[in-house]
Each structure stands twice: as C-alpha cells, then as structure tokens.
C-alpha cells in the first residue's frame, strides 16, 4: 500500500534535503470565498487529498502549479508546493472541502 509519509521521507532523502520538521497543514474553504493564500517560504506543502477537490481547482505556487482534473483525482501522487501558494476554487463549485497538506520544513 502506498504510504505518503514513507514516500516523503524517501524522496527528500534522494533530493538531499534534510527535514527539520514534518507536520500537517489544512485549509478550510468556505462558501463565498474562492481564493486562499498560504505562505510556504523555505518549506514544502504536499497536497494529500487532491481526490476530494472540485475539478477545476487551481493551486499555484512559486515552484509548482496544478489544476485538478478527473485524472488527477484518481492518482495518489503528492503534488508539492513552495513559496507563496494560491488556491483558487472553480466559480461554479458548491462543494467547499478541507484541503490537506503534509508540511515539510527544511533545514
């Protein structure tokens, strides 16, 4: 079974990035607000629940950007973001999820 935390540890080791802190961060979305901004400077946020996000949700950051498509909702890969992270829910959404990240603070 694919293990997110194990995968994160292995990948950061491969990339020679030492982890100072591994934690979790959530963004609770709410009706009437479609844009959210999180600061993730000198750290990484790994999206863990892309499958529950509305199709068309865009997450843009200084290092990576994704738009949630039906294909992405099926995969278990972790998208990684760093710097200023902007989350844009699609205008027509009626579903407001809690967006979950694994937070990695590097040395």
């Amino acid at each position: 079974m694919y293990d997110h935390l194990n995968h994160v540890q292995q990948q950061f080791k491969q990339r020679e990035i030492n982890i100072e802190l591994q934690g979790f961060k959530t963004v609770t979305t709410q009706p009437g607000v479609l844009q959210y901004h999180i600061e993730a400077y000198n750290e990484y946020l790994l999206l863990t629940n892309s499958r529950v996000l509305p199709i068309g949700t865009r997450i843009l950051s200084d290092t990576n950007s994704v738009e949630i498509s039906s294909g992405q909702r099926r995969t278990e890969g972790l998208e990684e973001f760093s710097g200023l992270v902007s989350i844009e829910l699609p205008r027509e959404t009626t579903y407001f999820p809690i967006i979950e990240f694994i937070q990695i603070v590097k040395e």
């Binding site: 491969q14 990035i17 843009l60 990576n64 950007s65």
Partner: protein, 136 residues
C-alpha cells in the same frame, strides 16, 4: 577546450490558464549550466503587447536545486540576452518545472514557449571548493 551546448525545452500553450509541466534530461557530459532564456514563439494580438503571458519555474539535478523563476512578457524588442545561471550539474539528472499561462481568456491565441539552457562541459573553477560555473 570547453564546448557550449544549448538545450531547448519547447512547450505548446493551447488554452488560457493552461498549466504545462515538463521534464528534460540534460546529457551527462554537460557539467554546468551558465544561462537561460525564455521566449515566446508565435503571433500574439497587439492588445497583449507588454503584458505578461505566463511564468515558468524550473529545478535542476532532479529537484535538488530550484534555479529558475521567470516571467514571460510579450515585447516589441524580444531579442533578450541570456540571463545568468550558475548550476553545477550532476550527471544525467533531470530538469523539471512548470509553465503557467496567465492570460485573460478573451484575447488568447495558442503559442509556444521555448526555454533555452546554455550549458557547458567545463567544470566550475574547482580547486578545493565548488565555485560558480564559468561561461568561458
């Protein structure tokens, strides 16, 4: 004598707001990237002159070094020089990144984005410590 080779990563943007990811393997004999240039290929409506078309970020050495974050602007004098880059390459590793189109949908026309990487097989000035890559 050092050789300089240009790696070209070409991306086709087909709709407004498109997010394009890329991966490119730099040949193992190249040891250093010393410059990069981002340019648009295609015809753009005049209304988009001097506007930002999108932005690109790229990392080297299989996600070990985040080295490029750049905006792509549509300008009259587009012949820009290479911007400086100082990345020591690990052999056979991957350059990966993402391009995000930032245009408004009404004026959009498909276009191509080229990222040129200027790389060399010459080692950086390594005596005892790793130093910056050199272009000569």
């Amino acid at each position: 004598m050092a050789v300089t080779r240009y790696q070209i990563i070409s991306l086709r943007v087909q709709h407004a707001g498109e997010i394009l990811k890329f991966q490119h393997k730099i040949p193992a004999y190249l040891t250093c990237c010393t410059g990069f240039k981002l340019s648009m290929v295609g015809v753009m409506p005049p209304a988009l002159m001097n506007t930002t078309l999108g932005r690109l970020s790229a990392s080297f050495n299989s996600l070990k070094e985040e080295a490029i974050t750049a905006s792509l602007k549509h300008e009259v004098l587009a012949a820009k020089d290479f911007q400086q880059l100082e990345v020591q390459l690990h052999p056979g590793q991957i350059v990966s990144g993402v391009y995000v189109d930032e245009q408004l949908s009404e004026a959009f026309k498909p276009y191509r984005v080229n990222l040129y990487l200027r790389c060399t097989d010459k080692e950086g000035q390594t005596t005892k410590t790793k130093a910056a890559c050199t272009t000569t």
